[in-house]
């Protein structure tokens, strides 16, 4: 027994390292992977409904196993690298995209702190006090994935796609940063947990600063390269954009990263503007800690589902912007609006002394 106890103590010491970081990383990575595969399925289903088609319905019950069929198809395909490609960069690009997509989630909380035995466990991998800046830093690295993919492929379509995307992302990162500034001013902190806690009751930032909410959501669409802002891969003009020359698992890497980025963008919108895991006035119901926590985590998931549906809904309803329209929208509308939002929030804080 003594020996088993020793092994168990060792395992427990490793598992509980840094507020159970290992377990949380494992959980988050798997949740993202499964969500991504079913997000692709739902994207195809919803697009079919909007276009009055049936959509995938062959593999499994109503096509429910379609994501696995897709993954196996991509895995078994031949990996083609163009002759003129810069091979190290060509291979590195999808890995950067995946790295950014998965590591951003480390600072976004899905629920309030819970008690397991004697330990208080935060439902976030790393509770760092400048979490929002960490997310911004990682998204700015994400641009490299597309720029490198565009340059290293040795193809003019890829290059044009890569250049377009770097211009687009830099332009929209500016208004994204200024929208976040409004939220940070309200919460007086850069920690995602504190930002969520500052939106108790109906003090959701989406209601207090609607302009910032709109600019952030639009910037999030542009940052994730989703329609109506998917200029980097505009098929009619650029073939496949930056991933024209990618095939097999490297292409799947970009594909995965795009959907994982959608999940992150939704989680960011929820954390910053929609009150995170909070349900307004749930504490007045006296439901007990366990029930409340479960309800709050489900509330986060429901908000997430609604936002992801919104992302897909917009993609199949709104046509793509032209490149010059995109740029003038970014600099002449979004940027001044987000600056206006900062001033507006400052005035609100001054008047109500929040």
């Amino acid at each position: 027994m003594g020996f088993l106890q020793f092994i168990w103590d060792g395992i427990w010491a490793v598992l509980s390292l840094g507020n159970f970081a290992l377990i949380k990383i494992l959980l988050i990575a798997n949740i993202i992977l499964i969500t991504v595969s079913y997000l692709v399925y739902f994207e195809r289903k919803i697009s079919a409904w909007t276009q009055n088609r049936i959509g995938p319905n062959r593999v499994g019950w109503r096509g429910a196993l379609q994501p696995f069929a897709d993954v196996f198809k991509l895995l078994l395909k031949e990996d083609i690298v163009p002759e003129k490609a810069n091979k190290p960069l060509h291979t590195l690009a999808p890995f950067i995209a995946l790295f950014v997509a998965f590591s951003t989630y480390a600072v976004l909380p899905i629920g309030p702190a819970i008690q397991i035995g004697e330990e208080t466990v935060n439902l976030v991998v790393a509770d760092i006090n400048m979490g929002i800046l960490y997310v911004l830093a990682l998204t700015s690295i994400g641009v490299y994935a597309i720029t490198f993919a565009g340059y290293s492929s040795g193809s003019k379509y890829s290059l044009l796609g890569g250049i377009r995307s770097s211009a687009q992302m830099i332009s929209y990162e500016v208004s994204m940063g200024f929208s976040i500034a409004g939220v940070v001013m309200m919460a007086e902190s850069l920690s995602p947990i504190k930002i969520v806690e500052s939106q108790s009751g109906l003090l959701w930032n989406a209601l207090i600063q609607p302009i910032g909410f709109i600019t952030f959501v639009v910037a999030a669409f542009a940052e994730t390269n989703r329609l109506p802002f998917d200029l980097p891969e505009a098929e009619p003009e650029l073939v496949g954009g930056f991933h024209t020359e990618y095939s097999s698992m490297k292409f799947a890497g970009f594909f995965l990263a795009e959907y994982a980025n959608m999940i992150i963008a939704s989680a960011m919108i929820i954390t910053l503007y929609l009150g995170g895991w909070q349900i307004p006035y749930i504490e007045t119901l006296n439901l007990g800690t366990t029930v409340t926590t479960i309800l709050q985590i489900s509330a986060f998931m429901v908000k997430m589902g609604a936002l992801l549906f919104f992302f897909i809904w917009v993609r199949w309803s709104i046509p793509r912007f032209r490149y010059d329209q995109l740029m003038s929208l970014g600099w002449k509308v979004m940027f001044p609006l987000s600056l206006l939002n900062v001033v507006y929030v400052a005035v609100i804080i001054m008047l109500f002394n929040v």
Partner: protein
């Protein structure tokens, strides 16, 4: 060897290796890529020194914004005959060596004759606090408000100048 020392060794080796690669690569894109790697290693070193804000800003501003613009420009211009441009221009080389020696002397002076730890009253708590965003914000808006505003105006002037120059070319 503790974890901090191991991380420090890895990061410094990466930083030194990448900075050598930056100046020896013929392909400017590869140079830029190694410079980005160098910035990341530097950001890691800042983190080890408890300068969290500086580290994140290093990634956002240098790695995220400035280097993207560099890559953007390099990709758009033709860089194939770059080697021949620099080959027979002696004054440029002499000037470059002069600047390099000057900067090296400055850094050597800073390393040998100043003690940055003394500036923040020495104690470890003060040093940790100095790297946090709250204290940086407070210092910027109280003690250093004048240089901060002047830097802001300089940037504004530069932005307006760039717009005017770009407009002239297209009209």
């Amino acid at each position: 060897m503790n974890l901090e020392l191991i991380l420090f060794l890895i990061l410094t080796l990466v930083a030194a290796f990448s900075s050598v690669m930056v100046i020896t690569r013929k392909n400017p894109i590869l140079s830029a890529v190694y410079l980005i790697l160098n910035f990341f290693a530097l950001a890691g070193i800042y983190l080890l020194l408890n300068a969290q804000f500086l580290s994140v800003v290093q990634v956002i501003v240098y790695a995220g914004a400035i280097m993207i613009l560099f890559l953007f420009v390099i990709m758009l211009i033709n860089t194939e005959n770059e080697a021949s441009i620099l080959a027979d221009k002696k004054p440029i080389k002499v000037f470059a060596i002069f600047i390099a020696v000057l900067v090296f002397a400055q850094i050597a002076y800073l390393i040998f004759y100043s003690n940055p730890a003394e500036l923040s009253n020495g104690t470890i708590e003060n040093l940790i606090k100095a790297g946090q965003i709250e204290s940086i914000g407070r210092e910027l808006y109280t003690t250093y408000i004048l240089p901060f505003l002047i830097a802001g105006y300089l940037l504004l002037v530069a932005t307006i100048g760039a717009i005017i120059l770009a407009k002239k070319k297209f009209e």
